[in-house]
Symmetry: C2
DNA sequence: CGCACATTCAACCACATGGTTGAATTACAC
DNA sequence: GTGTAATTCAACCATGTGGTTGAATGTGCG
């Protein structure tokens, strides 16, 4: 459970860490685009853009359909949903209940309960990729 | 507007693209931790762990309070909220309306291929950090 | 004071990343 | 078939990343 889809999350976050690639994703929200179309707005060679697209593809964010000599790319939002959900685990830390939560954690910490039910986050659900 | 907090998003996504760092973040949800405590579970030198923490720090995900010879780290969830929000833009692509949306896009595509392709979409709206 | 502890710094290394250019591949169009 | 368009491949380069080790810094302690 811990270390479940770690590598997927690695590659997705890495793919998203580049502005060029994020821009390509945004472009793909408008519909399918060819490699050339995705490359065009960016001041770089086609080969460079092609590499970026390949990064997005290996992260599962983009699917490609080869149509004759052109490659049509479309957005696959699945991995975005995955990391969005991953991030949601931290939501309570930035939403209002933060202070209350912090107190709670400190309490547990100090008390050092034997009941690991609330001490340890259940490696059940989210955030537990790593 | 476009390219607003691009660099912040870059660094946050990059910080999140490493399992060691994600694990440290998760650990910090339990409360403050020293550098040594954060390093301990990971099979690497203290110096290496220290670098990871610095990456988290420069991404704004961790704040550090120096207390004598120990450095206390605490989670700062703000940047997580930022990228979570960034990802939310894509939510509609993975939630229910996806199929309808896809059909819509295909329609446009088929109908007015040339028109749509060459009329660049206005770099108008959202998700437009980059 | 003098030593041990917590952490960083500096130098180094292997490998990945993001970019380039020029040639190769493949498909369409005449 | 020849030529051209869309894309990738391969080699190369500069820089970044993640790790190491050993020395340096600074603090707490007897």
């Amino acid at each position: 459970m811990v270390e479940l889809h770690t590598h997927e999350i690695d590659t997705v976050f890495h793919a998203l860490s580049d502005a060029t690639r994020r821009h390509m994703l945004q472009e793909l929200t408008q519909g399918e685009r060819t490699v050339g179309q995705l490359a065009e707005p960016h001041a770089m060679s086609l080969a460079a853009a092609s590499k970026h697209i390949k990064v997005l593809e290996s992260a599962g964010l983009v699917r490609r359909e080869i149509q004759g000599r052109t490659h049509l790319c479309r957005l696959d939002p699945g991995p975005l949903a995955t990391v969005h959900e991953w991030l949601s685990f931290y939501e309570r830390f930035w939403s209002g209940r933060l202070d209350a939560l912090e107190r709670l954690l400190k309490e547990n910490d100090a008390r050092k309960t034997a009941t690991e039910r609330d001490t340890k986050l259940p490696p059940s659900k989210p955030g537990n990729d790593t």
